[in-house]
Amino acid sequence: MIARVLLLLAALLAAGCGAAPKAWERGALAAPEMAFEPDPLLSGYRDHVHLSKEQASGGGSAGGGGCGCAN
């Protein structure tokens, strides 16, 4: 019984993945507020400022700087 319920839940979950929006259904996705980078120029500039200020910690990346400190 539990297995059945789980399988049904899995099927319902998978149903959400089934239908990708068609080319003509992407109006909402094309809205500016849906963009990952709404303003690439501005975010590039911020990255640059951040990098120059936080150089010792590795700037914008997670790798860390050469000083051995964690953050």
């Binding site: 399988l7 099927a11 089934g18 080319a23 003509w24 109006g27 094309a30």
Partner: protein, 166 residues
């Protein structure tokens, strides 16, 4: 249990691309719709005998800002030789399409397809997409996307089809 498993398979299969897209060489599927401007009925079949540039566009589609003015220009050039542009607007809110048309006015018919029924009939793969239909009603070219280089090639294709005698 088995029914559930079957359901699972069916639902995941939905993710597979379907192969119903209209291709070159096929007859252009017939449809009718209502004009975006005043809701008057319009049918693709009414344009039989003309070369038709069927275009699917939306206000949110970037390249459409180039393609619509271009279509208007090409239409003016070839209309006397038996050419027409038939545009289908797929905006969910027709007001968005109308606002776009106020900014980029066109003189060819524009259908409203808010529910995407016509786009689904052609299984449009990209925005914008256009279908070049010859005088006999057969799709001769399917074009996806639009940029300036495409414009010259498309114009040449239109000139070629217009020159064909039915």
């Amino acid at each position: 249990m088995r029914a559930c498993a079957g359901l699972f398979v069916l639902m995941t299969l939905g993710a597979a691309p379907d192969l119903s897209a209209v291709e070159r060489g096929q007859p252009a599927p017939a449809f009718e719709g209502a004009l975006l401007s005043d809701g008057a009925p319009a049918r693709l079949a009414d344009l039989r005998g003309k070369v038709v540039y069927l275009d699917f566009w939306a206000s949110w589609c970037g390249p459409c800002r180039q393609s619509l003015p271009w279509m208007e220009k090409v239409r003016g050039e070839f209309a006397p030789a038996g050419f027409e542009v038939f545009a289908v607007n797929v905006d969910e809110d027709p007001a968005d399409g109308l606002r776009f048309l106020r900014r980029y006015p066109v003189s060819f018919p524009v259908l409203g397809d808010a529910r995407g029924a016509i786009a689904a009939l052609y299984d449009v793969q990209d925005m914008p997409s256009s279908y070049l239909i010859d005088r006999r009603g057969a799709v001769r070219h399917v074009h996806r996307g639009f940029n300036r280089d495409d414009a010259a090639r498309l114009r040449a294709r239109i000139a070629q089809l217009v020159a064909e005698q039915p």
